[in-house]
């Protein structure tokens, strides 16, 4: 077999974001080596690198095609608007997280290792970019591992604190096991189809002699690996520990970017591998191998219920937000469980909104932790009176996470329920709605501590500096504006819904 180098060179045009990220990664390593003890340049190089990658990502909207395709065959990577949408979310989150890092006390205290910090963040970005667009199990596995290995280290970045090291260890054990299970699933799929390409596997599965039972086993084993990344129950056990233990910038990053990549991967995996046809209303018919609908509904109800009820008892804000992010994964999974393009639109909208509100909530928790050194809810008593900006903003973020109008969180939930009601899944919608009532209780508890308790002499005032205020507004204003005027977001999601090939 002759390797045709032209294919690879041609493909580079469609891989510009990934190339930019890789070059930025290398640049950071080199600058870190040259500059020695002076690390102050690194964050700015990172932001510049991400912005360049972001420029190329935005360019990818509307593209449609394979990259790295071998002669006449199916490629390892697809470039499409769907991927571009998720990459945009990842790029946005990355920029915000780097900006968080500039003022995070935990990160600043370990300034001698900033080189590794930003390098590994770029490792994560690269892994997530490939996860979003991979259509071949080999690349898919490598991308997941690239993301995981980088995040294992980052979760334990402030290694001198006990809880960091613990978070890191728990993360790598759970992560290692789930990727092992997933790999075993991939090996079974490879065994029955002889291919690792999702498109080829799909066409083989539609053949009548296909072994359904083995396919079921393999599909579920692979779901374990992806379910771990999106922290779906019952593979969520790592989430609260890691989110609480990791530095807060990384927690925010894991809760949004890494989850977004996981969801993009899951959607692509299920849609491309198992699809049979799409009807005019946008509903998918899947190959009769796994009853994905019932399976996903079960998992999502389990996920949101577990997440919401466990969150009720939490006193640590980071841990509470960890459980809340599990619950949100449950709502998002419902969008997929509908198995329709409506549902995918809902997921895209929800994710865009979720990025803003969750980043905002973590940002404020970080600002407060920088000042008082605690994420405990009891230490928030009366904070709303001493620090009005922080209090009002956190209230809006939490209200949005609950999903009350007129915030953007409501729009996200609304579209999920649109999809559910349109698919006649009324009972599921009812369960999800009941869950959001439960979630109100723990979100409003934070508000209660901030506002319903009067400040005492120990209550400090948290006043963000100008830069942080601007960043806060960047996260806060879209929540309010998108809540009242969401047409642009829906338009964007609508154009991004189509996956390559379908």
């Amino acid at each position: 077999m002759e390797l045709n180098i032209n294919y690879i060179i041609n493909s580079l045009g469609s891989l510009l974001p990934e190339v930019a990220v890789t070059l930025a990664l290398v640049l950071i390593v080199i600058v870190d080596l040259i500059m020695g003890k002076n690390k102050s340049l690194l964050p700015y190089i990172s932001i510049a690198g991400i912005l360049v990658a972001g420029y190329f990502v935005i360019d990818q909207f509307g593209m449609n095609g394979f990259a790295l395709a071998v002669d006449g065959g199916k490629g390892m990577i697809v470039v499409d608007s769907f991927g571009a949408f998720f990459k945009t979310i990842i790029v946005f989150t990355s920029i915000v997280v780097v900006l968080f890092s500039l003022s995070s006390k935990e990160i600043i205290e370990n300034s001698d290792r900033h080189g590794e910090y930003y390098t590994l963040i770029f490792g994560m970005i690269l892994g997530m970019f490939f996860m979003v667009s991979a259509t071949d199990f080999i690349l898919l596995y490598l991308a997941i591992e690239l993301l995981s290995l980088s995040s294992y280290v980052l979760a334990g970045f402030a290694k001198n604190t006990m809880r960091n090291a613990e978070a890191s260890l728990k993360y790598i054990i759970y992560g290692g096991v789930s990727s092992g299970i997933m790999l075993f699933g991939i090996s079974i799929i490879f065994g029955i189809t002889g291919s690792t390409n999702l498109y080829e596997i799909n066409s083989l599965m539609q053949a009548p002699q296909f072994q359904g039972l083995v396919g079921l086993l393999a599909g579920i084993l692979i779901f374990v690996g992806i379910g771990f990344k999106i922290s779906a129950a019952p593979f969520h056990f790592w989430t609260p520990d890691v989110y609480e233990g990791a530095p807060i910038t990384i927690t925010a990053y894991l809760s949004i970017a890494s989850k977004a990549a996981g969801f993009a991967l899951l959607i692509r995996f299920i849609k491309i591998t198992f699809i049979d046809s799409i009807n005019l209303q946008g509903y998918w018919t899947l190959v009769n191998v796994i009853d994905w609908q019932s399976f996903l509904i079960l998992i999502s109800i389990l996920t949101m219920t577990l997440g919401n009820f466990a969150a009720l008892w939490q006193n640590n804000l980071k841990r509470m937000l960890a459980y809340s992010s599990i619950a949100h994964a449950g709502y998002l999974l419902l969008g997929l469980a509908v198995l329709s393009n409506q549902g995918i639109i809902a997921i895209l909208i929800y994710f865009a909104v979720y990025a803003f509100m969750n980043l905002g909530a973590f940002f404020i928790v970080m600002l407060i932790a920088n000042k008082i050194g605690s994420e405990d809810m009891d230490d928030y008593d009366g904070l709303g009176f001493t620090s009005p900006l922080i209090g009002v903003s956190l209230t809006i973020f939490l209200v949005s996470l609950t999903g009350l109008p007129p915030t953007a969180g409501f729009i996200g939930k609304l579209y999920i329920f649109f999809a559910l009601v349109d698919a006649n899944m009324i009972v599921v919608a009812l369960i999800a709605l009941a869950n959001s009532v439960v979630s109100l209780y723990y979100y409003i508890r934070v508000v209660k501590h901030m506002y319903l308790t009067r400040p005492n002499s120990q209550t400090v005032a948290v006043v963000p500096n100008i830069a942080n205020t601007v960043l806060l507004m960047v996260l806060l204003l879209p929540i309010v504006i998108l809540g009242l005027y969401f047409s642009p977001l829906v338009e964007l999601a609508k154009t991004s819904v189509a996956l390559f090939g379908f």
Binding site: F137, G156, I172, L183, F184, S187, T196
Partner: protein, 101 residues
């Protein structure tokens, strides 16, 4: 005489289950990592067996990547264990319990 594919598959399934059981029951962090390696290797064995059975090179190709990843994972895992050991002076994962509920 060629060994039938089932034998390989049974062996790899056995290795996989051993790995899972090891992770669930052993308390020493290093042994837990060894069990994870066992799981990865069972998948490797499946890949190689299928690849040779079907005369297909993709499986063997995959194995090389998996081996590289496994090495990286082991390196990071040991580094994390080392960091933890410096803080806590234990390898027992049951004693790693600051974060719960």
């Amino acid at each position: 005489m060629q060994i039938p594919i089932e034998y390989y598959l049974i062996l790899s399934a056995f290795m996989f289950i051993m790995g899972i059981v090891g992770v669930l029951t052993r308390r020493n962090a290093i042994i837990v990592f060894m069990s994870i390696e066992l799981m990865l290797n069972s998948a490797n064995l499946t890949f190689v067996a299928f690849a040779s059975y079907m005369g297909n090179t993709i499986g063997q190709l995959f194995v090389f990547f998996v081996m590289a990843v496994a090495a990286a994972e082991a390196a990071i895992g040991l580094a994390i264990i080392l960091a933890l050991f410096r803080n806590k002076m234990t390898l027992n994962i049951d004693e790693v319990n600051i974060l719960k509920w």
